[in-house]
């Protein structure tokens, strides 16, 4: 037993050096060569950081495309999902009021036009994307609020649909932050 203990102790120390110092340093130096230099990739507008590409942020102004509901309030230092069960009556009330809000700002919609991702909270509370459908149903409102031609906004949305991986794998998405930055640039 005593020999095992000594061996275990020495092995643990050796492995800590290998696995907790050398290994992450290799990854850190490798990561320096990536787009965000390992710090996370940011997006800048006029030289100022306005967000991270991967991290969703709150958009609820009528002038912008809205992002999904978030249980974390888009707090990127405290990610969280709602963890509401599908039959929870309080939760279903929340969903209902989100539908009402959408209908209020976009009175031209039928309820069946609304895709599920716009009325449900994401897993992380930081989902950067919405589905192409969720973007399309907002075109008319955004165009009206910015006094833009609907066709122009529509083509902007279509250009911002990210295709599946290799065109084959996974869903189509729209990055809300990138879309809204492009939208701001449109009016200039």
């Amino acid at each position: 037993m005593k020999t095992y203990l000594l061996q275990a102790l020495r092995l643990t120390i050796v492995l800590i050096v290998l696995l907790c110092v050398i290994y992450p340093l290799i990854i850190m130096f490798g990561g320096k060569l990536s787009n965000g230099h390992g710090d996370g990739e940011t997006v800048k507008v006029n030289g100022k950081v306005v967000g991270y590409v991967a991290i969703g942020q709150k958009f609820d102004s009528p002038r912008y495309f809205w992002s999904r509901p978030s249980a974390a309030g888009y707090n990127a230092a405290g990610s969280a999902g709602s963890n509401k069960g599908s039959s929870n009556p309080d939760y279903l009330k929340d969903v209902n009021s989100r539908i009402d809000t959408l209908m209020k700002y976009q009175p031209y919609l039928k309820r069946s036009d609304i895709p599920a991702d716009l009325v449900t909270a994401s897993g992380s509370g930081l989902d950067p994307d919405i589905s192409p459908e969720a973007a399309r149903i907002q075109i008319r409102r955004v165009a009206a609020n910015r006094k833009l031609d609907e066709k122009q906004v529509e083509s902007l949305v279509e250009n911002h649909i990210q295709q599946p991986l290799l065109g084959l794998l996974g869903p189509k998405t729209v990055n809300v932050l990138k879309l809204n930055i492009a939208l701001d640039e449109l009016k200039k």
Binding site: Q7, A8, R10, L11, T12, V14, L15, L19, C20, Y23, P24, I27, M28, G30, G31, K32, S34, N35, G38, D39, G40, V50, G51, Y52, A54, I55, K58, F59, S61, Y64, A77, G78, A80, G81, N83, K84, G85, S86, S87, Y91, L92, I99, R111, D113, A116, V119, S122, L126, D127, P128, E133, P164, L165, L168, L169, G170, P171, K172, T173, L177
Partner: protein
């Protein structure tokens, strides 16, 4: 929809393309035959020398388990104190506090046993030091412990009669140097180049487009996320695990992560067949596990794609399926695929919130963890399945009236007793644990704990019961996922699941290794016309039936009270 389906098909094919050759490689490597990674020998010899280990020293099953337990207990002590004092130690750029003793107790057990329940949230409850020096360290070593234990079991059946189950240190170190570390470097770099942070920079702050001030938690996550999947650990860097856009930035990383968590469990099954020179047995087991996986996966995906019936009633189109707790970039198909694999493989990392999945999905997630033998965790998956094999051998023996035999060794009373006890352990821990939790919730709702029992459920009714059942099941299966609505950071859950975790880990390792040790040293009985062959598909189906019957008998009542009741109540 079609690209989503293609996504999971391609993911599974790549998993097989990597997992199967990896299994053949592992069989050769652990047997000490020549493999292309032999250039790492100097590194291993260095490790042995510095640690004073002779890797050639044979061990019988008792010595093997003793060595294993010694180092595991050492990690428990080391980690417990590090977590309590993490606020006073370096590498804490965000100034996070130390863990309370009951939380540290739960956390360290949970990581040592390869579970990673995580009653804290990574952004606020851990420091860069503890994330790397405790959690990531244990991601490697707990996986290697499981793999080493599995190889010990292999050894009992490689030679006709043997006392020697091999050297624990040898298998343990080689699992790291020849398998986990090289793969982790590749996966971590892929993640880093797709946007997962890898530097030691602390929190960042920016002003959003709408003028909100936003803090962003970061840190060297890529290295840890790679091994959390490869080692079927699941404990993530951020609170929401692989649903977090920095932990799992896009569909490619999602594929890489889901493939990573499957390859070693698959490889270990193939390796078993090749190592004991009965390839067919390996393939039969592999087929049965794949069958079990599909039986859980197909209904899971179909219930998620169907969407939430309560939301459908509001007139919302759910063309892409249920979306609560899910991320748009993965979609419900890849999310359902992930939720099945993470529950059968005992990883427990999540890319969606399981609490918000459909009731039937929850039922399949729970069942996957209860069975815990369809591929299963690194190394321990085959150990769990081995118990089912022994029970199947015993029952078949009774049915045909022959002395039960497994691979040329008579299975007698002592082995069957051990197998039966291990089989009964899981339902006991899960049911007794859940019953106790329900009792405390009902009878002591106002107990003065950091989360009052009356407030620890996030959902009412049947679903609330499911939250408690899920937590205990996850702890016993060493899975680590959760219905995370449960307010689990209080003394009751920290302590109770702590005990469930440690019993649910080590007894199901002791049992199979002991049976293997006992069988291995028995006289070899050559196969004859009267032998019940265990490497046939007929026997495979028999084992599968045993698994279904045992688990249905054990868990049907609990599942009926939770997810099934919720499902039927939503049909109205």
């Amino acid at each position: 929809m079609n690209t989503e389906f293609l996504g999971i098909v391609v993911s599974f094919l790549i998993t097989l393309l990597i997992g199967i050759p990896l299994g053949k490689y592992l069989a050769k490597m652990f047997a000490g035959e020549r493999v292309w990674t032999d250039f790492l020998k100097p590194l291993e010899n260095g490790i042995y020398k510095l640690s004073g280990i002779n890797p050639k020293e044979p061990m019988n099953w008792k010595q093997f388990l003793k060595a294993m337990m010694t180092i595991n207990i050492l990690w428990l002590v080391y980690g417990f104190f590090m977590l309590i004092f993490q606020d006073k130690l370096p590498l804490n750029p965000d100034g996070n506090p130390g863990q309370t003793p009951d939380l540290a107790f739960n956390t360290i057990i949970s990581f040592v046993v390869n579970c990673n329940l995580q009653h804290y949230s990574g952004e606020s409850g851990a420091t860069y030091l503890t994330q790397h020096f405790i959690f990531m360290f244990l991601h490697f070593t707990s996986a290697a412990t499981g793999i080493a234990a599995a190889v010990a079991l292999f050894n009992a059946f490689r030679d006709k009669t043997t006392e020697n189950l091999g050297n624990f240190w040898d298998y343990f170190v080689k699992s790291i140097t020849r398998l986990l570390l090289p793969l982790a470097i590749v996966v971590a770099l892929i993640l880093a180049f797709n946007g997962t942070p890898s530097s030691y920079a602390g929190k960042d702050q920016f002003i959003s487009m709408q003028g909100d001030t936003v803090n962003v938690s970061r840190g060297p996550a890529a290295a840890m996320i790679a091994i959390k999947h490869l080692g079927t650990n699941g404990g993530g860097w951020f609170g929401v695990n692989s649903a977090h856009p920095l932990e799992n930035p896009n569909y490619l990383t999602n594929m890489v992560e889901i493939i990573s968590q499957m390859i070693i469990p698959i490889a270990m099954i193939i390796a078993f067949g090749y190592y004991i020179r009965r390839k067919k047995l390996g393939w039969v087991i592999f087929s049965m596990m794949t069958l079990g996986m599909l039986m859980l996966m197909i209904p899971t995906i179909s219930s998620e794609l169907g969407g939430n019936p309560a939301i459908a009633k509001m007139g919302i189109s759910q063309a892409t399926g249920a979306m609560e707790g899910k991320e748009v970039r993965f979609g419900p198909m890849a999310t359902g695929y992930w939720s099945t694999l993470t529950t059968i493989v005992s990883t427990g990392s999540v890319n969606s919130m399981h609490d918000s999945t459909m009731p039937l999905t929850g039922c399949w997630q729970l069942l996957g963890m209860m069975i815990n033998g369809f591929f299963g965790g690194c190394g321990v998956g085959i150990l769990n399945y081995f118990i089912y094999l022994i029970i199947a051998v015993f029952i078949s023996g009774l049915m045909v009236g022959r002395t039960p035999e497994f691979l040329g060794h008579k299975v007698e009373a002592r082995e069957v007793k051990i197998a039966a006890l291990i089989t009964l352990l899981s339902p006991f821990l899960i049911m007794a644990g859940t019953a106790l939790a329900s009792y405390v919730y009902m009878a002591h709702g106002n107990a003065d704990w950091s989360v009052k029992p009356s407030a620890w459920l996030n959902n009412p009714g049947f679903h609330g019961f499911s939250e408690m059942l899920y937590e205990m099941t996850s702890a016993n299966a060493n899975n680590g996922s959760g219905f995370e609505g449960l307010g689990d950071n209080n003394i009751f859950w920290n302590v109770s699941t702590g005990f469930v975790l440690i019993l649910g880990r080590f007894l199901p390792i002791f049992g199979p290794v002991a049976i293997a040790g006992l069988l291995g040293r028995k006289k070899y009985v050559p196969e004859s016309a009267g032998t019940l062959r265990t490497d046939t598909f007929t026997f495979g189906i028999m084992t599968f039936a045993v698994i279904l019957v045992l688990n249905a008998l054990s868990y049907f009542p609990a599942l009926a009270l939770g997810p099934l009741a919720e499902y039927f109540s939503m049909l109205k």
